[in-house]
Symmetry: C2
Subunit: 342 residues, 2 copies
Amino acid sequence: MRTEIATLGEFGLIDHLTEGIQLQNDSTKKGIGDDAAVLSYPADRQVLVTTDLLLEGVHFDLVYTPLKHLGYKAAVVNFSDIYAMNGTPRQITVSLGVSKRFSVEDMEQLYAGIRLACEDYGVDIVGGDTTSSLTGLTISITCIGEAGEDQIVYRNGAHETDLICVSGNLGAAYMGLQLLEREKKVLAGADKDVQPDFAGREYILERQLKPEARRDIIEKLHDAGIKPTAMMDISDGLSSELMHICKQSGKGCRIYEEHLPIDYQTAAMAEEFNMNLTTCALNGGEDYELLFTVPLTDHEKIQEISDVRLIGHITKPELGCALITRDGQEFELKAQGWNPLK
Amino acid sequence: MRTEIATLGEFGLIDHLTEGIQLQNDSTKKGIGDDAAVLSYPADRQVLVTTDLLLEGVHFDLVYTPLKHLGYKAAVVNFSDIYAMNGTPRQITVSLGVSKRFSVEDMEQLYAGIRLACEDYGVDIVGGDTTSSLTGLTISITCIGEAGEDQIVYRNGAHETDLICVSGNLGAAYMGLQLLEREKKVLAGADKDVQPDFAGREYILERQLKPEARRDIIEKLHDAGIKPTAMMDISDGLSSELMHICKQSGKGCRIYEEHLPIDYQTAAMAEEFNMNLTTCALNGGEDYELLFTVPLTDHEKIQEISDVRLIGHITKPELGCALITRDGQEFELKAQGWNPLK
């Protein structure tokens, strides 16, 4: 079944997609339906704002990306930015540019994913814009969150001797993408009966197609009484992000190859592709893990937190940013991360 | 001179475009440069959020739209939504999708327009996202503003017998667009020496290419002690917007053809194009004027405010929404406004 979007028009489509949305947060006073959403935060809370623009053919390929997953991911990557400030996401606005290729049912799928992410993370959809597009799908999401003033963690607070920590593992989403791209090419030249071979690769595919934001890590750090000195989420690759923290904090760093957390499936896939695993972990991108620094005195506390790994330490700026390999060599870090403008 | 964007990369481009931005508002605690912007509003202020997505070929045509004007307009249309809530715009985020067709100098022009609008209206650029695009230019702006809780004006507050008011005049931006489209066609088939004929049309061109948000009207209403019962800005045409107010307020309305404010240039252009002037004024779109209702008791006060016109009144819902023509006939209003999804 395919319903053309033109049969509903802009307002009809928005009404249809946002029907039955329940507002979950006290801070949301007025959601969709006026010139602007109205929010109200207590005096002791600061307001966090982040935004992401996703374009078809640049950030996602609908040949292998289900629209529901895409909607989920588009929302979650914004939540990740709010958690990376040590905050809590509360509202999003969703703007969509949609070409005639897409039906009302397609948009229902996309929105179902956005709504699912919002339910899972307790976020309200409070506004947006829907328009036609000449070419493909455009998704622009802005997320608003909150945090106490003393609670916010910036990128520029890392001190010498601070420990560098990372949640989860690295490079999995990137290897998932490589796998999807390979199967796309295989299928393009194959009979209809050929099925993509994803057996045993479910984890890296999920990391690429349906990432999660690390709310759990933020909660664990809070419960353990740890406030990171600097933090950001890893979207462009560990190497690039670590250099942001060091640059903004005016410091250097040393990280250790042997301590980089890497999942078995990521390693197996890299071997199959004959790719350097450490390069994948350093520059893969789209991990949406948290990278943060804590004072040396938090060493024991951090080690008790599951799914967080110590990978190195902050140094004087003169020492630069470097990776120490398994055989003790020092390589200068480079921000080779995914650059969509090159 | 043409510098390829790839020579700067994403972060280099953002740094370049946002260099020297001065934050103007106390509520802006941290602008560009972290995972999220940080804002802090006093307890008695509510936070307003609005967003607009502009796509090349759908919302603007770069054949006749200077990039600096486009940037200015993209920002101002968002400010207009905040004023339409009776609020004050304070911050924006700017996301750009840019194809290889555009140079660093092009983006400087676009950003110069955005920055000029922000300076004029006292708004801070606090974040955004810049990425490559396969096709043309994408601009997504989110604006954050503030207002006292008691001060906010929604669309749903119109009462029976309220007066319907509109600022400025209607249909001018639409006629400016018609003129630009005509000259584009003429020039496409002409010699290089032919120049477009815009003499005496400057006003309607400016209304299309460099609209302003009606901050002045909001200030005048405030100074006169008038709080509208319902308000919105006119982006899709008077007819469409008035029906939103009536629907959300559960009311009907009567407006009078003879009272619709129309500029001389708009009328002259409509005549030249052999278009019905009233239709242009009702459905033209992109006016960015304010449409609002006030209690009958504010009748005298409203008449003292320059550049505001009374065009009709709110009625019982059973009477529907209608235009009374100069010869006393009644026509049901229809939301024929510009629908980019049809």
